[in-house]
C-alpha cells in the first residue's frame, strides 16, 4: 500500500518542479526592484575588483574606479547620497547569477553588450564607449597588429568567446591563452607567458600608464567601437527604465556635469560631447 503512495508523491514532486521551472519566468517580478531599493535605502551593485581603471582595489584596499563612481552617481540620484551603495565583488562568470539570483540589484563591471548575452540579461543604454586594445610587452618591437600576427607570439584573452573570435579574425596566426581576469592577463604578459593581451582600451591604457617601462599599447584598435552597459535581470520594466533614464541623463542630459567629472578623473580627458550639434 505504501509503494503507490510514495510513487505518487514522487510524481507530484517532479511535476511541481517541472511546473515551477516552466512557470517561474511568467510569474516573476510583481513588485519592481526599484521599490525594493528605495525601501532598503541603499543600492546593491555587483562589480569586479580586478579591472582597473573601471573597478579595482587600490593600494589602500578600497574599491575604486570609473564604474564604482558611476554606481555612486546612481545612488546620488536615488538617495541624494553617493555613499548609499553596497558593492558585491564577483568574478567574470559570477556576474550573471549575481543579478539573476537577486543578490545584487544591478551590475556594473566593464561589461560589453553582446546580443548573445542580451538573451539572458537586460542591458541599459551604454554608459561608456569601449573598444579593445592590445597591451604588449615593451621592447619586443610590436607596433601594430600585423607585427603580433605571427605564430611565435601568444595573446592572452579574457574568457569570453567574443575575444577568441576577434583574435581569430584580426590576428589568426597568433596563439591564444584564456584567463578569468584582466589582472591574470596582465600577469601572463608580465611573466612572458604571452606577448600581448586583449583588454578594453581604457584598461590597457591604465596598465601601460602605470607600468611605463614594462608595457605599451598598440595604437590601433582591435576591431570596432563597442558599448559597455549596466546589466540587470530581465523582466522588470520599471527598474530597467529608471536605470536607462539615469544613464541617458549622464551621457547627454542633466547629469552630464557629474558624469564629466568622473570621466575626467579616471580617463584624463573629457567625455564625448553631450550632443553632437552642441559645441
Amino acid at each position: 500500500m505504501i509503494r503507490p503512495v510514495v510513487a505518487r508523491a514522487l510524481v507530484a514532486i517532479v511535476m511541481a518542479v517541472v511546473l515551477h521551472l516552466s512557470a517561474a519566468p511568467v510569474l516573476a517580478q510583481e513588485k519592481s526592484r526599484l521599490e525594493t531599493v528605495l525601501q532598503r535605502g541603499k543600492l546593491i551593485v555587483a562589480t569586479f575588483s580586478t579591472a582597473p581603471p573601471f573597478c579595482y582595489t587600490d593600494d589602500k584596499g578600497q574599491l575604486v574606479g570609473f564604474d564604482i563612481d558611476v554606481a555612486r552617481l546612481l545612488a546620488k540620484a536615488l538617495f541624494k547620497d553617493p555613499s548609499k551603495v553596497e558593492f558585491v565583488v564577483v568574478t567574470a562568470e559570477g556576474r550573471w547569477p549575481a543579478i539573476d539570483s537577486g543578490r545584487a540589484d544591478m551590475g556594473i563591471a566593464t561589461t560589453t553588450i553582446y546580443p548573445d548575452r542580451a538573451v539572458r540579461v537586460a542591458f541599459t543604454r551604454p554608459y561608456v564607449d569601449s573598444g579593445v586594445s592590445v597591451l604588449v610587452k615593451k621592447g619586443l618591437g610590436l607596433k601594430s597588429l600585423a607585427d603580433l600576427n605571427q605564430d611565435k607570439y601568444t595573446i592572452a584573452n579574457l574568457n569570453n568567446p567574443q575575444m577568441a573570435d576577434r583574435a581569430k579574425r584580426f590576428i589568426p596566426k597568433t596563439k591564444t591563452l584564456t584567463f578569468d581576469t584582466p589582472a591574470a592577463q596582465a600577469l601572463a604578459v608580465r611573466s612572458g607567458r604571452a606577448q600581448g593581451a586583449q583588454l578594453d582600451s581604457p584598461v590597457a591604457d591604465w596598465y601601460a600608464a602605470t607600468n611605463k617601462d614594462e608595457f605599451e599599447v598598440i595604437p590601433e584598435l582591435m576591431g570596432y567601437s563597442q558599448n559597455n552597459a549596466i546589466f540587470l535581470k530581465h523582466g522588470d520594466f520599471t527598474w530597467w527604465h529608471w536605470l536607462d533614464t539615469a544613464v541617458g541623463e549622464m551621457r547627454s542630459g542633466s547629469y552630464y556635469g557629474e558624469y564629466s567629472d568622473v570621466y575626467l578623473k579616471w580617463f584624463g580627458k573629457n567625455p564625448p560631447p553631450q550632443k553632437f550639434y552642441l559645441r
Binding site: 547569477p97 601572463a188 607567458r193
Partner: protein, 222 residues
Amino acid sequence: MRFVNWIVVYGPNYLSGLAWTAIIALAASVGAVVWGGVLLLIRLSGGLWTNLAVETYVQLFRNTPVLLSIYLIYFGFPLIGVVWPAVICGGLALVLQNGAYISEIFRGSVKTIDLVQFDAAKSLGLSAWGTFRKVVLPQVLVYGLPSLGGQVILLLKDTSLLSAISVAELTMNAKLLTEQTGAAYEAFVVVAVLYLLLVVCLELTARFALRAVRWRPRHDAL
C-alpha cells in the same frame, strides 16, 4: 523549457572539455601514484636527512592550496626561463600535491604491516627490494586502495582549478559559455552533472578493483 533548449544548442561544446578533464585526471593520477610510491621508497630506505627532506616536502604540499603551486609553476617558472605548456604545469602541480598525500596513504598502510613480517622476510633470505616487492607492496596496495580511490576523486575535482591557467577543461568550458550567453545556471549545472558522471565512473572502477583483489592479508595467522 529554456534549459532543454540551451543544452541542445550549447551542449556539444562540452565534449572537448570533458575529454581534457578525463585525460588530465588520468595522467595526473598515474603520475601521483608513482610519485607517492617513490616518496614511500625513499622514506623506507632513507636515513635521517632524506627522511627529513621528504617530511618537509610532504608538509609543504599538504599545507598549501594546490592553486598556489599551479600559479607558481605556471607564472613563476617562466621567470627562470622554463616555459612549459599550461597542461603540463597544471598536471605537475597536481602530481606534486597528490603525490604527497598518496605517499602518506601508503605510509599509513605500511604501518599496519606487522613488524614480525619483516623479520620473517629476513629469515627467508629476502633482499630489501624483495621484501618491498613481495611483502610490503601487495599489502600497501590492498590496505590503501579505498583511501587511494578517494584521493583520485579529489584530484579529479581539483583539475577544475586548471581553468585558472587557461587549460581548456570542463570548468573552462562552463566559464566560456557563461561569458558568451550569460546563462550561468545552465552552464554550471551541466558541468556539475558531468563531474558527477566522471566521479561515478571512478567509484565503480575503484570498487571493481577492490573486488578483483580477492586476496586479503591475514593477521590471525600469527
